[in-house]
């Protein structure tokens, strides 16, 4: 991604497919209020095995967040308030409208890539799209 920084924009849609990931998604969005979204995002994947099977993962997530310098009281209050629920639901609706049934699903411009793919696959598709954009600009 870094090599295409000026030419490519990544938009992340954390998609909650079950109750646990809904908590995790709200947690990440709440961390965004502290300008720590990407840190929380990384942490959720890095420590996934420590929380993803728990029936109530929030307590464990708050412990992990505390270790990463986030304001856990504010995080807890934010998640418990449910203020991020509309955003989570909006993304779920958007994903449904795009007929996304599994994750990861990635769109590179309008090209849909479903499932795990190698970095080389993504780089190839990005290059093709950049070349297409260049051709369109020349015309």
């Amino acid at each position: 991604m870094k090599r295409f920084e000026d030419k490519v924009q990544l938009v992340l849609y954390p998609l909650a497919l079950n109750d646990r990931s809904e908590v995790a998604t709200q947690f990440a969005l709440c961390a965004g209020e502290q300008d720590q979204f990407w840190q929380a995002h990384k942490m959720l994947y890095q420590h996934q095995t420590q929380w993803h099977r728990l029936s109530n993962p929030l307590d464990r997530l708050l412990e992990l967040a505390g270790g990463n310098g986030l304001d856990t009281a504010a995080l807890k209050q934010c998640v418990k308030s449910g203020k991020m629920e509309p955003l989570v639901k909006a993304d779920q609706d958007y994903a449904r409208s795009l007929q996304i049934r599994s994750t990861p699903t990635v769109f590179i411009n309008n090209r849909r890539i479903v499932g795990a793919h190698s970095e080389a696959d993504f780089v190839r598709t990005i290059r093709q799209e950049l070349a297409r954009a260049e051709r369109a600009a020349q015309q």
């Binding site: 991604m1 295409f4 920084e5 000026d6 030419k7 490519v8 924009q9 990544l10 938009v11 992340l12 849609y13 954390p14 998609l15 909650a16 497919l17 079950n18 646990r20 990931s21 995790a24 998604t25 990440a28 965004g32 979204f37 990407w38 995002h41 959720l44 994947y45 996934q48 993803h52 955003l87 993304d91 958007y94 994903a95 409208s97 795009l98 007929q99 996304i100 994750t103 990861p104 699903t105 990635v106 769109f107 590179i108 411009n109 309008n110 090209r111 849909r112 890539i113 479903v114 990005i126 799209e129 950049l130 954009a133 260049e134």
Partner: protein, 85 residues
Amino acid sequence: MAKKSNTRNRNRSTKQPRGTAPFTRQRQRLMLGGVALLVVIGIVVGIRMSRQQSLPPQLQGAIDGHYTRGSAAAEVVIKEFSDYT
């Protein structure tokens, strides 16, 4: 002499099909099965490709209040839908 050779040929021609007919039918069945399999594989690959490359109209008009990386004026936009679990 010519008559003799004719009867020999006739004998040969009547014997050969008896032995090869089941083999030919089996071969035809195998070929038909192969063609059917290729058609099925072609349909599956076609469906997969069309799903991967079809243009969802909603994507073009999407409004993002989302976390992003990279330039907002980028020529290529990557939208990643991922689940944390």
